[in-house]
């Protein structure tokens, strides 16, 4: 094993088709026109010394280290800013440039601490390397003059230090923050010798607008910006490329290791989803893997009020099997089920649904996608033919107008948001449709052309109003519709949306969006060129979630924005493997590959492979499982890697359902909230402890590679296998590659996927004989279902309505620095940014209620109440309040209700009628729950031997 070091070509690659040939130190090299001499030289194998240049940033030309001589030209130009020319003869190491470089380096070093042996960058310092490359032997100026050697260190950020004494003011950090991340948090303050790097308005990094993505740390050529983990542990000695286990962007990282200890996670430049960028979570928030809260031994108990008792794996697995068999014998084959995890690998998810179908003999398998993107599955399946985003992430580079609906990419999908912001800074237009004024609406160098601040729950009305404008103003792409879509359905749809009752003016009172904004946005989307739609849970988590997804698909088809780079319909998936868990047949009505269980031919494939008869009827969805538990017909549940008590809506109902079950098996890293109601706890493994694959939001299958042994002794797929075997259904895999081989044998869209291929590069499904290299963009020549299908999208108001008791609308979401229920992120230093959930409330609504900034407030709905602190902000409109669900102390889902999407039962998280009033502390429910939690988490002391 070695430390992977990507080649730094110094400047970015050019994509020109015209090639230029030149001579560098006598070596012929041919590169695309526009390439810098520095890059061309590196491609010829000749590294020119550099400090301010790196190939993730635009050329800057400030350090004067990369000077070269060019025959026939005067002077010594900087090779990073000088483009190649045909026949050019470059000399990179003449006496003249060597003398200049050495002289410049002397100046740098005259103001740099000479503490290399004790420096955290020792062994990985570009300044040190460059000093070696230029042959620095002496610093004639000494260090007695004016210098910055006593400049203070800013250690405020929990993950990295800024040691100003080591800064050479190369501006790589400032440029990374601007060009790569797009936050513009850093600047060079002062001039000349007084120049220094400053965060925000010369603030500590932690309190500045820095989002801690780590781009500056990665760009720094010295120890100025350095991970605290490297300071503590030293430089890594080997690295393993793997995939982040946070959001659906699926960033590739190098896990840089010392032995089996992670020293740091560094975004991998060759990662196709992230191209070397990262966010604060993936880059830094992996400390949960070694948090003392992790449970590393299996535990069982008779009743949920008993203390947990640590047992062997064999005893725990035997308990699971005996309990599940007992329940099935008593209450029938359909009385138990599973919930697969979008945080686990494809292979693990595949095994859990197989456990239900083959070992339990039923289809009671569901996944957390039920409560996020299940309407995407239904909506895109109906209109296009399959549940998948249509584009790769790189497609956004070709978009002319970007529509963001019910998504907050800078918080939820930050690395993709940075790509999106790069395109917006290049001139693409932006339309935001969201009740909140999310950061994208207006942030440094970004301003939306239109922000449609719709009333929560009126997505369908807004989308139909947009369609009304496109149809009635003849903005339809007639050729696309005629060639690619079902014309009868299109005609019905066009007639429907054209009805006067669907005009922006007629719907203004419903949506709260001024008609002129809707008209302007529709015209922009339909006429600006390539129109790309990105949407999130603000679309799906409604009683008409599926209808909105279909309305979005209608718009894309009507304007011909499907089937090429720069366009498309792109669901931004929440968790790392939401796409994969859906692909793997986690839903109770679908076998892997989105094929309904009622299909005899599909069942036959799996029946032959698995040697069982598969039930042709759909099983229970997650909300139905709770109902059936209360009803007494569903009594056993195996939950892998999800905290349904905290994440699912209407907590009281969920807890009642869980309490009604006779055997709840929680398979997780921590004693999560669901474990309060569990009878068996099986310790899970982190993404660092197992092999497998994740599939990101662009359908990209990425390798997850084990960098350390499972701390509890088993990878999660091994645990599921053990349960199946104990249940009497044999499962014998030696490695996840064998599971992927089974997936490929049985699932056409994965037919061409193998670990050997994935080891070379990631693949976007479908990957099969028809698409041997995978499918970066879908529906290029035709839709998966054949012809695109327009669907009429009648607006049906939610039954969750405001009234005198509950006059405000609550909508929920998440924040950059926390992830889902926070089980992982809350156990890292990232809590510095978001230590508690807060309630955003408009100053007008707050004033009416006598609420001031930071006050405790009681948030109540007909489902329940909780208390949290108020933040007064105009990000939310009057009448709308907003909170996150990351902290179990708050339990925001005590407030949300049982209403759900008509097609899929996806909960209506985004619309809850609430009242907000001043409070003075925790609610009675919070206190009761805390007491229950304390009781139900007790672990029996093990007597000393």
């Amino acid at each position: 094993m070695t430390l992977i070091k990507e080649i730094d070509y110094g400047t970015k690659a050019e994509s020109a088709t015209r090639l230029v040939t030149l001579l560098v130190d006598g070596h012929e090299v041919t590169v695309p026109e526009g390439t810098s001499i520095m890059r061309a030289s590196m491609e010829a194998g000749i590294k020119i010394p550099k400090l301010c240049a790196t190939d993730t940033l635009n050329s800057f030309g400030s350090c004067r280290m990369c000077l070269v001589e060019i025959e026939g030209r005067n002077g010594t130009p900087a090779s990073c800013t000088t483009p190649v020319a045909p026949g050019m003869k470059v000399h990179t190491s003449s006496d003249k440039v060597r003398q200049i470089r050495r002289g410049v380096m002397e100046l740098y070093i005259s103001d740099h601490p000479l503490d290399c042996l004790t420096c955290s960058a020792n062994g990985n310092c570009e300044l040190q390397d460059t000093a070696g490359e230029v042959g620095l032997r002496d610093v004639r100026y000494g260090q007695l003059g004016a210098n910055h050697l006593d400049a203070p260190t800013d250690a405020s950020n929990p993950y990295f230090d800024f040691d100003a004494s080591k800064c050479i003011v190369c501006s790589r950090c400032v440029r990374a923050c601007e060009e790569v991340q797009g936050t513009f948090a850093l600047t060079v303050e002062g001039r000349g010798f007084a120049s220094k790097i400053a965060a925000g308005m010369n603030e500590p990094f932690l309190t500045s607008e820095c989002v801690s993505c780590g781009a500056c740390v990665q760009a720094c050529p010295t120890a100025t910006l350095m991970e605290k983990s490297v300071v503590e542990l030293g430089q890594p000695e080997h690295s393993v490329v793997t995939t982040c286990a946070y959001c659906g962007v699926g960033c590739s990282f190098k896990a840089e290791m010392r032995g089996d200890t992670v020293v740091r996670m560094v975004p991998w430049k060759d990662g196709k989803a992230n191209h070397g960028h990262s966010c604060v979570k993936g880059r830094f928030a992996w400390g949960y893997a070694s948090h003392p809260d992790r449970i590393l031994e299996p535990m069982i108990r008779e009743k949920i009020t008993d203390p947990w008792r640590k047992v062997s794996w064999d005893e725990a697995i035997a308990r699971v099997a005996s309990e599940f068999k007992r329940i099935q014998a008593k209450a029938g084959q359909d009385s138990i089920g599973v919930i697969t995890s979008s945080r686990c690998t494809n292979e693990e998810t595949f095994l859990v649904q197989k456990l239900a179908r083959a070992a339990f003999g039923n289809n009671n398998t569901d996944t957390c996608a039920r409560v996020c993107h299940s309407p995407t599955g239904y909506g895109l399946g109906k209109t296009f033919g399959t549940s998948a985003g249509t584009q790769n992430f790189d497609s956004v580079q070709h978009a002319d107008v970007i529509v963001v609906i019910g998504a907050n990419p800078t918080d939820g999908h930050p690395v993709f948001a940075s790509r999106m912001k790069q395109r917006l800074r290049e001139g693409a237009k932006l339309i935001v449709i969201d009740p909140r004024r999310i950061d994208l609406v207006r942030s440094p160098h970004i301003e939306a052309s239109y922000h449609l601040p719709l009333r929560p729950g009126t997505n369908v009305a807004v989308m139909t109003a947009l369609a009304h404008v496109i149809v009635t103003e003849n903005l339809i792409d007639d050729d696309f519709v005629r060639e690619r879509c079902e014309l009868d359905a299109f005609s019905d749809w066009a007639a429907f949306v054209a009805e006067p009752r669907n005009s922006p003016e007629a719907l203004e009172a419903t949506t709260g969006v001024p008609a002129a904004l809707v008209r302007g946005a529709a015209r922009l989307y339909a006429t600006a060129g390539n129109g790309a739609i990105y949407y999130g849970l603000g679309v799906t988590e409604h009683s008409q979630g599926s209808t909105t997804v279909m309305a979005i698909a209608n718009l894309a088809m009507a304007t011909g924005n499907i089937g090429r780079p720069g366009v498309g319909v792109n669901p931004l998936r929440g968790q790392n493997n939401v796409q994969g868990s859906c692909d793997m047949g986690s839903f109770p009505h679908e076998l892997p590959g989105y094929r309904h269980v009622s299909g005899e031919g599909v069942r036959a494939i799996f029946e032959k492979e698995w040697g069982v008869t598969i039930n042709p009827e759909p099983g229970l969805r997650i909300p139905n499982m709770f109902d059936a538990a209360i009803d007494g017909s569903f009594l056993g549940l195996y939950v892998q890697g999800e905290d349904i008590l905290q994440s699912d809506p209407d907590t009281h109902h969920v807890s009642k359902g869980l309490a009604a079950m006779e055997c709840v098996v929680v398979h997780d890293l921590f004693l999560n909230e669901t474990a309060n109601y569990a009878h068996v706890f099986l310790p899970g493994s982190t993404f660092l402890e197992k092999d497998g694959t994740f599939t990101n939001a662009e359908r990209r299958i990425n390798m997850v590679r084990r960098v350390m042994a499972p701390k509890a002794g088993k990878a999660d797929w091994e645990t599921t296998m053990a349960i199946a075997n104990a249940m009497g259904y044999p499962m014998h895999y030696n490695h996840p590659r064998e599971i992927m081989a089974e997936i490929a044998r049985t699932t056409p869209s994965f037919a061409g996927v193998t670990y050997d291929r994935l080891a070379r590069e990631s693949i976007q499904w479908p990957c099969n004989d028809a698409a041997p290299d995978g499918s970066p963009i879908m529906h290029v020549d035709g839709f998966v279902r054949g012809m695109g299908h327009f669907v009429i999208t009648e607006y049906v108001a939610t039954d969750e309505k405001v009234g005198p008791r509950f006059p405000l609308l609550l909508t929920t979401g998440r924040i950059l620095s926390q992830y889902n229920v926070g089980a992982q992120t809350r156990r890292t230093a990232i809590v510095a940014w978001h230590p508690e959930d807060v309630l955003e409330i408009h100053p007008h609504d707050a004033q009416e209620r006598g609420i001031r900034e930071g006050d405790w407030v009681r948030l109540a709905s007909r489902a329940g109440d909780t208390t949290l602190r108020a933040v007064l902000t105009e990000r939310v409109a009057p009448g709308v309040v907003y909170t996150t669900f990351h902290h179990p102390v708050t339990q925001a889902n005590v407030i949300t209700t049982e209403y759900s999407d008509w097609a899929t039962n996806c909960p209506e998280y985004k619309v809850t009628a609430v009242q907000v009033s001043p409070s003075n502390g925790l609610s009675p429910w919070q206190e009761q729950y805390q007491a229950l939690s304390d009781t139900n988490r007790r672990i029996e002391a093990v007597p000393a031997k």
Binding site: H589, E617, N624, A628, V796, W902, A903, N905
Partner: protein, 66 residues
């Protein structure tokens, strides 16, 4: 399961298919229930068809599940 809750969910499905001009609403609702509802949910709704408030088209669809 709560018959009223099942009826509410079935009526939600009905409201969607009622607006689809080219589809047989009754058949579509029945098909949706068959494709997405666990059999015990369908059985419970059928068993309580006379006690719950179902929209006319939905009632016809549920009748077909008997």
């Amino acid at each position: 399961m709560s018959p009223d809750k099942l009826a509410y969910m079935a009526n939600q499905i009905g409201k969607f298919f009622l607006s689809q001009k080219s589809e047989d609403g009754v058949a579509s609702v029945a098909d949706h229930l068959k494709k997405f509802w666990d059999p015990r949910m369908r059985r419970d709704l059928v068993a309580h068809i006379d006690q719950v408030a179902l929209d006319p088209m939905v009632r016809q669809a549920v009748e077909r599940l008997r």
